[in-house]
């Protein structure tokens, strides 16, 4: 047989037709994205404390991913690499006291900078709550979300200046009536930063 119908062409053809149909889906694939896919915070017991999804997924998928990832990350030993390969994504995780922070990024992204994004987020939480502990996040998870949204927007670092992020949050908080932060009563252990 001559070379016209070499095997790889078949797949190529499929791809071709597919390309016209699922344009949007593929736009994400064609240019390498440096966007974070999602961020999860969970406890050592595997309880989810915060979840932020930057890519549209169904609830079922989200649950499945969360379950799988929590399991995988909790099984890792402390001295192991903070990066994981999971499906076609890279998982970057770090443990602070009893809480795991876990981000999913694309393969071509920079794992180290993601690790520092996590750290900066913890720093922000720490500054906002005084010295933050897991309970702060459990009882004031909406605040944790507000801070996250001020720091990362749509999966990209929005504002990296600590001062500016907190200023934005505090401005909104000033409007808050006399709601005091009861949570300060539960003075847990300081984060090991």
């Amino acid at each position: 047989m001559d070379g016209w119908m070499d095997g790889w062409m078949d797949g190529w053809m499929d791809g071709w037709m597919g390309g016209w149909v699922d344009g949007l889906l593929l736009t994400i694939g064609i240019t390498s994205s440096f966007q974070m896919q999602f961020m999860l915070l969970f406890s050592r017991q595997g309880k989810l404390r915060l979840q932020k999804w930057y890519v549209p997924l169904s609830d079922k998928e989200k649950k499945k991913i969360t379950r799988e990832l929590v399991q995988t990350v909790l099984a890792r030993k402390p001295k192991m690499c903070s990066f994981l390969e999971w499906r076609d994504l890279k998982i970057v995780y770090k443990r602070y006291a009893s809480l795991y922070f876990c981000c999913a990024i694309e393969d071509q992204d920079n794992e180290l900078i993601t690790l520092e994004i996590i750290h900066r987020y913890v720093e922000l939480l720490d500054k906002y709550f005084g010295s933050v502990c897991e309970l702060d996040i459990i009882f004031n998870f909406e605040k944790a979300y507000f801070i996250l949204d001020e720091f990362l927007l749509g999966g990209e670092a929005q504002e990296t200046s600590k001062k500016n992020v907190l200023k934005a949050i505090e401005q909104a908080d000033l409007l808050q009536e006399n709601i005091d932060y009861q949570t300060r009563l539960f003075a847990g252990t300081v984060w090991t930063l």
């Binding site: 070499d6 095997g7 979840q51 549209p56 009893s98 794992e111 990296t160």
Partner: protein
């Protein structure tokens, strides 16, 4: 449970009870949530938790729908609903209330409402439409916090079709005095660009304004958009390079406010973003790269602090240095940096070092040599991710010498791997290597099939069987390989076949069915017996069973086999599975009728390779036209139907007064991307390499890898003598003795922990792993030669069973004769097809002895050549062409420099165009005939020079060129020039014009005849076709004639695709429309109106091209010229 939490939780109930006295009317939100949380922590089982949450949700549901609930209470309820959802319980009833809260609450309530919406809903949720009005209102609010909240939610979720509604207001916010608003507006536009690029195209200049914003935060935000834009089209933003460089310089120099510092490193996120942008801009562009060398050097120098963040920047820096146009000084520094990563005791840095190394070895495989001992240690690392990355690195440096060891390492990894995704990926890679270097093909593939199981891509077994059936060059080799496969499979089946994956069993069935006759001592009935065992196995899928039955059908030619086969057929002819039933029927009938069997499945005469596949399905043309004439609707391809569908479906949601093309949002993205999307979409369906095709950065480069096996088989290697001389000194780590003796066991870099034996082992491993790397340059030479042979081999195959003498000749003199062989091939085909017209044209030639005709395009002889413009043609003859005898140079000179002396005779209107060399066609005592062709913008003009060489005799010539042509006189020693405008009726690789000239000396004497022929290639008629990518996309779909082929890539270190396309552009004047990653779009047309499009893709070190055109044969003919153009040095 952690001690901390435990301690706190024991204190929890008492603390919480402070707030949660029963009956207290005003419970703070924290308290109620606290109650819930406390309740959950007290529970002991999952079941109890479920009960509690369901109860909680019921109470929330009741309260949210009550009219008496205040917005304040609603806020608290929403927080609890979000918490329940986080625990994994659905609270969809609250979604609408979240929207309501965002709409009606005060600022604080809104904040929670928006948060709940962004957590509950995703982009495609229909309730989101209800949010649009709220967002619109808040965007116009005078309260800055409301504006901020609205922009934040827009950046996270917003319905795509509704973008035009808020776009003008968001745009306006770019001029807002507050930087936080400007920043969020920029990010919102970035989001819009990602989901609907066409709608923000008109505000590109505003992005520039954002880039120049005085606030660093706004500027940083705008870089997200620029990174995206530059990824898609770097060319358009080259002018910004200097600005990006200046920004980076300022950042690195610490000019930003202190609070952008992170661990005393200035704005690391900004630096990384800029480095990414610079690497995209400097890729393949020396001039742009030169602008950034200085700042890159500075970045490398400044990042010295030992902190993760500096390493993150360094990593990006190294990638940038290796992506842009190389500068040796920088490369050296970057390589040193990688060393710091790889040698770091910190595991995260080591991982990133390996990743960086994987990236850079694609440019320079020798870099791996410096770190060989580290790499070997990482190969045995306890952390899988490190091992995995090391294998990835090894995969990229595979060559013929180390492939065996690397494949073995990969298989070791597979044996331990539990992760499906990794298994599939590695299996694909092993299969790819096995195909490329099939020294140990069989044992490797057996391992691949048994380890890969049923997860692997179906292309792997298919490709393997194809390779096996098509065979290689030597019959003997084929036989041996097939025999080996048969024997190994027989022994596998005799073992424990139930442990083998289904895919592997199917491969075994096929091979046994096809080739077990090769093993002479093997009775078909024995094979049949083994196959029957497979049928009886519980684990066999019905797909496998039908493979078994097909194999049996092929095998039942001996008597003993027949009876066994019939038994089986009996059993399965009543199967519920229709496929199985059909196979059983086939088996039954064919086993009964041995004559029919030998006709359908001749023993030994396997797979006829002469099958011709009509990919254009032209045999259906009659059927189609019949159906069309009977009133059937013309066929629309799938995408067209979908496009129309989506167009008709799109609601007109445009607000009044806006004139943005909203309907394009759903279909325009497809248009914009056009055929370039194919590689990503082919993803898993392609073979193993497709994993790496997603971004150009991860593409496997095989430039330096020796290619010994092609799809056509083993490529005989003639090792150039230079190889010995070109072995380079690899690295300081390798001692000379090691180079001399690859198996030297002396330890050169002892690791403190390893004992001597272990060390020796590692050294040995090192020498086997990094074997071929040092002589990379010479390997390139071999692969170049190998590819040449490869192409010829293909050609030979394409020719089928044509005379072998041509082949020999072709081999001896590839540049000349291979071309003619192909010519013959194409001409012969045509001649065979159109015998009739040739005769007619022959007749014509006799009737009009002076006419020009096209020899090989015979069917349209008179039409192919039309007389350009007889009048104009004749005019210059009278004025210019009668040159005084004295002006003409002597005849000897004329022989030598015909070109130069005839050039002045070129008609003035053609002098502006380039003309081919003027070649003598024929001559007689008194007459010389020369010709050249001139390529004008829209035609090709053949210019014939008729020179009267006789001293004094006047010459009377008459030329008929289809139409009448007057008799002319050419005086002694003068030149007459004729022009013929050529058009193409039917594309051919080369056109040969045959003409006759009749003349009489002196005028009035009996006529003499002269025959001449002139050959010109198709390329003379090819003109670049300038189209946009969108136009290309729609044209592509409209064209029906196509052809595909793999071509040689031009050897070039960095960008083989660009180099190759540029070569095509230069040699064949094809227009390069766009290059996107590993794909390129090229367009041209045959003269003015017959376009031909070419789509190129780099695949496994070759250029896969696909040509399409509305003109039959044009793709094939053009492909030939592309092939030639790339073969030439």
């Amino acid at each position: 449970m952690s001690d901390v939490v435990e301690k706190t939780l024991t204190a929890l109930p008492s603390l919480l009870s402070l707030d949660s006295q029963p009956g207290s009317a005003k419970l703070s939100s924290t308290a109620k949530l606290g109650n819930l949380i406390r309740g959950i922590t007290e529970l002991t089982s999952k079941h109890e938790e479920e009960k509690l949450i369901q109860h909680e949700l019921a109470s929330i549901k009741e309260q949210v729908s009550s009219p008496n609930t205040t917005m304040r209470q609603m806020r608290e309820l929403m927080v609890r609903a979000v918490y329940c959802e986080m625990l994994g319980y659905e609270a969809s009833f609250s979604y609408i209330h979240a929207i309501k809260l965002a709409q009606q609450g005060n600022v604080l309530e809104k904040r929670v409402g928006y948060l709940a919406v962004s957590l509950f809903l995703n982009e495609s949720h229909e309730l989101l439409l209800l949010l649009v009005n709220t967002v619109l209102k808040d965007l116009q609010s005078t309260n800055l916090i409301e504006v901020c909240m609205a922009l934040t939610v827009v950046c996270q979720i917003f319905p795509k079709d509704m973008i035009p509604v808020i776009l003008p207001i968001v745009e306006e916010k770019l001029n807002h005095p507050k930087e936080i608003i400007r920043r969020k507006a920029v990010l919102a536009l970035h989001k819009f660009y990602l989901i609907a690029p066409n709608q923000v195209q008109h505000i590109h200049n505003k992005f520039r304004k954002a880039l120049c914003d005085k606030d660093p935060g706004v500027m940083t935000a705008s870089l997200h958009i620029y990174l995206q834009l530059i990824q898609e089209n770097a060319e358009a933003y080259k002018d910004l390079t200097a600005s990006f460089v200046t920004i980076l310089k300022q950042v690195v120099g610490g000019k930003l406010p202190m609070d952008f510092n992170y661990h005393s490193v200035p704005a690391p996120w900004l630096q990384i973003q800029l480095l990414r942008i610079l690497s995209l801009l400097g890729k393949n562009d020396q001039r742009t790269s030169e602008v950034m060398y200085e700042v890159l050097d500075e970045s490398l120098r400044r990042a010295e602090m030992n902190h993760n963040i500096t390493y993150a920047i360094l990593y990006e820096c190294v990638k940038c240095v290796y992506t842009i146009h190389p500068k040796s000084e920088l490369l050296e520094k970057a390589a040193k940096c990688i060393g710091n990563f790889v040698l770091s005791p910190k595991i995260n840095l080591k991982y990133l070092g390996l990743k960086a190394l994987t990236y850079v070895v694609q440019q320079d495989p020798k870099l791996a040599l410096q770190h060989q001992m580290t790499i070997i240690e990482c190969l045995d690392h306890s952390d899988v991710i490190i091992k995995r990355e090391t294998l990835e690195l090894l995969f990229r440096i595979t060559n013929a010498q180390n492939v065996t060891v690397i494949v073995e390492k990969m298989l070791d990894f597979l044996r331990l791997s539990k992760d499906d995704h990794m298994t599939i990926d590695i299996v694909g890679k092993v299969a790819e290597l096995a195909e490329k270097y099939p020294f140990k093909h069989y044992s490797t593939m057996n391992a691949v099939f048994s380890l890969g199981g049923d997860m692997m891509q179906p292309e792997i077994p298919n490709g393997f069987l194809k390779l096996l059936s098509e065979g290689f060059d030597s019959e003997e080799e084929d036989r041996k390989l097939r025999l080996f496969a048969v024997s190994s499979y027989i022994s596998l089946l005799q073992g424990e076949p139930s442990k083998l994956p289904q895919r592997f069993l199917q491969v075994i069935c096929w091979v046994l069915g096809e080739y077990s006759f090769l093993k002479e001592d093997l009775e078909p009935s024995v094979v049949l017996g083994l196959l029957t065992k497979l049928l009886d196995m519980k684990s066999s899928s019905s797909e496998t069973k039908s493979w078994v039955l097909v194999a049996m059908t092929k095998l039942c030619w001996s008597e003993a086999a027949v009876s066994e086969a019939q038994q089986v057929a009996e059993t399965y002819s009543s199967s519920f599975d229709t496929t199985l039933r059909q196979r059983a029927q086939e088996l039954q009938h064919l086993s009964r009728d041995s004559q029919l069997h030998s006709r359908v499945l001749p023993p030994g005469g396997r797979l006829e390779p002469d099958e011709v596949v009509d990919s254009s399905l032209s045999f259906l043309d009659g059927f189609v036209s019949e159906a069309l004439s009977a009133g059937a609707a013309p066929y629309k391809p799938l995408h067209q139907r979908q496009e129309e569908l989506s167009r008709s479906k799109v609601l007109s949601l445009e607000p009044y007064g806006l004139s943005l093309p909203i309907s394009t949002s759903s279909c325009s993205i497809t248009d914009r991307q056009s055929p370039t999307l194919l590689s990503t979409s082919s993803g898993l369906s392609g073979d193993g390499t497709d994993f790496s095709h997603r971004g150009s950065s991860t593409t496997l480069r095989l430039d330096g890898v020796k290619r010994v096996w092609g799809r056509e088989g083993y490529l005989a290697q003639k090792k150039p003598v230079e190889e010995v001389a070109q072995v380079e000194v690899p690295s300081p780590l390798r001692s000379p003795s090691q180079q001399g003796d690859a198996n030297s066991c002396r330890s050169k870099t002892p690791t403190p922990t390893a004992n001597p034996e272990c060390d020796q082992e590692k050294q040995q491993l090192a020498s086997s792993l990094f074997g071929g790397l040092s002589s990379q340059s010479s390997v390139c030479l071999i692969s170049g030669a190998a590819k040449m042979v490869n192409i010829q081999r293909f050609r030979r195959k394409a020719k089928g069973q044509r005379s072998s003498s041509t082949t020999n000749e072709q081999r001896a003199n590839p540049t000349v004769s291979s071309a003619s062989a192909v010519d013959n091939l194409l001409c012969n085909n045509l001649l065979e097809a159109d015998t009739e017209p040739i005769n007619s044209s022959a007749k014509q030639t006799f009737q009009h002895p002076h006419s020009l005709s096209v020899a090989n395009g015979a069917c349209d002889a008179e039409a192919i050549l039309t007389d350009g413009d007889p009048k104009e043609r004749n005019q210059p003859l009278s004025s210019e062409d009668f040159v005084e005898a004295d002006d003409s140079p002597p005849r000897e000179d004329q022989e030598r420099s015909k070109d130069s002396c005839l050039t002045p005779h070129l008609p003035a209107e053609l002098s502006g165009f380039s003309h081919s060399e003027i070649i003598p066609l024929c001559s007689s005592q008194s007459l010389d005939l020369s010709a050249c062709h001139v390529q004008t913008d829209n035609s090709v003009v053949l210019v014939v020079f008729i020179t009267n060489t006789s001293e004094d005799a006047n010459l009377q010539i008459q030329v008929f060129c289809v139409c009448e042509s007057p008799v002319e006189e050419v005086r002694g020693r003068s030149v007459s020039v004729r022009q013929y405008s050529l058009t193409v009726k039917m594309p051919l690789v080369h056109f040969e014009l045959v003409g006759m000239l009749s003349y009489s000396i002196p005028a009035g004497m009996p006529q003499a005849m002269m025959q001449f022929s002139y050959k010109l290639p198709l390329t003379s008629f090819i003109r670049p076709l300038t189209v946009s990518t969108e136009e290309y996309g729609s044209m592509w779909l409209a064209f029906s004639h196509d052809t595909k082929q793999n071509l040689t890539l031009i050897k070039e270190e960095r960008e083989p695709l660009t180099a190759t396309l540029n070569a095509l552009n230069k040699k064949l004047s094809l227009h390069v429309v766009e290059i996107i990653g590993v794909e390129g779009l090229v367009a041209c047309s045959l003269l003015q109106d017959q376009p031909c499009l070419m789509h190129c893709r780099v695949h496994a070190g070759r250029l896969a091209v696909w040509l399409r055109s509305p003109v039959p044969d044009l793709p094939d003919c053009l492909l030939y010229h592309c092939q030639r153009a790339l073969q030439e040095p």
